[in-house]
Amino acid sequence: MILLQLAADGLLLGAVYALFSSGLTLIWGMMNVVNFAHGDFVMLAMYIAFFSFTLLKLEPIVFVPLAAVLLFALGGLVYYALVRHVMRGPMLAQILSTFGLALFLRYTALWAFSANFVSLPSGLVGGVYDLGGLRLAASHLIAGFSALLLTLGLHLLLTRTDLGSRMLAVSEDRVAAELVGVRPDPMQALAWGLGAAATGVAGALIALFFYVSPEVGNSFLLLAFVTVCLGGFGSVPGALLAGVAIGVIESFSAYWLGPATKDAVVLALFILLLWVRPQGLFGRA
């Protein structure tokens, strides 16, 4: 029973990692820009969820889409106001600019919301199901299924639609895309918007069972980068699989080898995998 519970917890935790990373995959993989502010986008989405509930009394069914819409706007804004300009500069400028954005968002949150940890009431979306001793929280299940749906949706959008093809074209070769009549700026802004909107959904759902604080994005960020690398840059299903794999490995290694070792185990396996498959699980070489 313990092993089954560990596996279930690992799967659900992995789904959360995948959910957390989904927006990052899109922006990093498609646009070739590492968004260091990703964790802080998630943090903002979590605060949107928290304040929508506590101040405006909105239910999750309302505040999850609301977070998506607001983050979509933020993503677009960040592209037009910041990323578009620094993309002309050297790689270092891109890295430092999103890093600066991350610090700006984090310390603004610290100033505006204080350093206190806050939390949505538990059981906002139903309680805990007990299946013959196996306990699953509704909020975790919803996060898990949403990770699946979001991954599927983003994957289909990129591979099956005209819009997706245009976005991929711009990411592949900006000039060539322009030559065939695709305007790069709106496409890139859209990719940022969609990536941020996915992040918004992720943040609002994670807030259902996790604490919220200005630093919360930081605790997930390293694993999000590992997830995207492991899955293969730009591969949305890859990120899902990688996230789930990391969750399950963490869960079991924490139980068998001790919680303090779990990060070491995950990162050691990650390095081993990069050794044989530097492009990640689903990446193209």
Binding site: I2, Q5, Y211, L223, D263
Partner: protein
């Protein structure tokens, strides 16, 4: 007004007078290192509010707070009424940052003494810098026992520390055992930096010396995103008592995970820090009913010093004063009192005055039996009691003469 030759000539002596005044009351600069960002920032800010309040109490007359030292007068009387000025440094939760904070405060801001730094591992690194430069360093908050085992000359600690808690917990558990509740299987769950490791070792050492065995020890990283494997380990081992030595984010996750996995240990003891963070009670207080904690502070009876101090703190912040803020405040009072008694800002004079400290309980905010340092710089009169989360506050439940509410077991969650 135009600037004439005459007005310039008049201004010169006027400036000289101003300068003299400034010299007479040159503020005494103290460096305070706290986590103002990072995962422990909530605690750091709460402490800063408490210290800011004390700076006001010391610098302005608060006769209603007598017998608190320095309250009735303004500034430090033996230094010509010099005001206290605190220079804050943010350790960002990192021992390396704390170390460079200490260096900067000493070499650039020329502070006369240092205080801090919340996390034991940061107090460790920052006090090493103070020791090298010969600047007094006082911690009112960090409890890892190794801090006062380094043979330092310049380091002082007012708070009770790990070995004293170990004794407190086992004395308390012996008492619970007398009530017919099983307490023999004690599990320790601790975060794996100096704080958690040292307190866990002290508890284990105490148990071994008294012929008891620790049933299970789990060490983990406080920044984890998930604690369910630890909770599952506890769930399958079924200890009678679980002692958590945790910071804030992890304590919150433990309470949430207890609920999700439907497990509640019969007795939960939280070793202060995370369990005492003001945001612990607001965010998961309803999942942590019956959690036990240690505290060196109780609001106390109306009219007492602790009660009046709480009233001021509550007016300023909207929250009640608690152990995690009261202990650093107590440390700060001891430091300011020592500088005043030294009558000088020379490091050696302050160190000598600190070493000679003998503060009676009547002058304290906390419940210590007094403040007096042993050779290692540890306050050997430091003292804590057991409190229990009942509703929205921790209330003293043991020992009986401090108790104001009845102990309620088991842990309800």
């Amino acid at each position: 007004m135009s600037i004439t030759r005459r007005s310039v000539l008049l201004a010169v002596p006027a400036l000289a007078v101003l300068r003299q005044r400034a010299e007479a009351a040159a503020p005494v600069k103290l460096g305070y290192i706290e986590p103002l960002t990072g995962n422990s920032a909530a605690a750091g800010h709460a402490i800063k509010q408490g210290i800011d309040l004390l700076v006001d109490v010391i610098n302005k007359p608060y006769p209603q707070l007598a017998p608190l030292p320095l309250a009735a007068t303004s500034g430090l009387p033996r230094l010509g009424g010099a005001k206290i000025e605190v220079i804050w440094a943010d350790n960002q939760g990192s021992p390396a940052v704390g170390q460079s904070d200490a260096l900067r405060l000493i070499t650039q801001d020329h502070v006369v003494a240092l205080l801090g730094a919340y996390q034991s591992n940061i107090t460790l690194t920052s006090s090493a810098v103070a020791e090298r430069y010969g600047i007094p360093y006082l911690t009112g908050e960090s409890v890892a026992s190794n801090l006062t085992e380094r043979g330092y000359k310049w380091f002082f600690r007012t708070t009770p520390y790990a070995p004293q808690f170990a004794k407190l917990y086992f004395d308390f558990l012996a008492n619970v055992a007398k009530m017919g509740k099983p307490t023999s299987k004690v599990a320790i769950v601790h975060e794996n930096t100096d704080y958690g490791t040292s307190v866990a070792q002290s508890i284990t050492k105490f148990a071994t010396e008294h012929g008891k065995k620790i049933f299970l020890t789990i060490s983990y990283n406080a920044n984890s995103t998930d604690v369910s494997p630890q909770v599952l380990s506890l769930k399958s081992a079924k200890p009678d008592v679980v002692i958590f030595i945790s910071y804030t984010s992890d304590s919150i996750l433990y309470m949430k995970t207890f609920q999700t996995l439907g497990y509640r240990p019969p007795i939960v003891i939280g070793d202060d820090s995370g369990f005492s963070d003001p945001s612990f009670v607001t965010s998961v207080g309803n999942l942590a009913q019956g959690a036990l904690n240690r505290s060196a502070y109780a609001i106390g009876k109306s009219g007492s010093l602790s009660y009046k101090m709480n009233a001021l703190y509550k007016k300023k912040t909207g929250r009640d004063l608690d152990d995690s803020v009261a202990r650093p405040m107590q440390g700060f009072m001891v430091m300011c009192d020592a500088i005043n008694r030294a009558g000088s800002t020379k490091p050696e004079a302050i160190r000598a005055a600190l070493a000679a400290t003998d503060m009676p309980p009547s002058e304290l905010i906390t419940a210590y039996k007094g403040v007096k340092f042993n050779k290692e710089g540890q306050n050997f009169l430091a003292y804590s009691m057991m409190t229990e989360l009942q509703g929205k506050t921790y209330v003293p439940v043991w020992p009986p003469k401090e108790a104001i509410a009845k102990l309620q077991l088991p842990f309800k969650g």
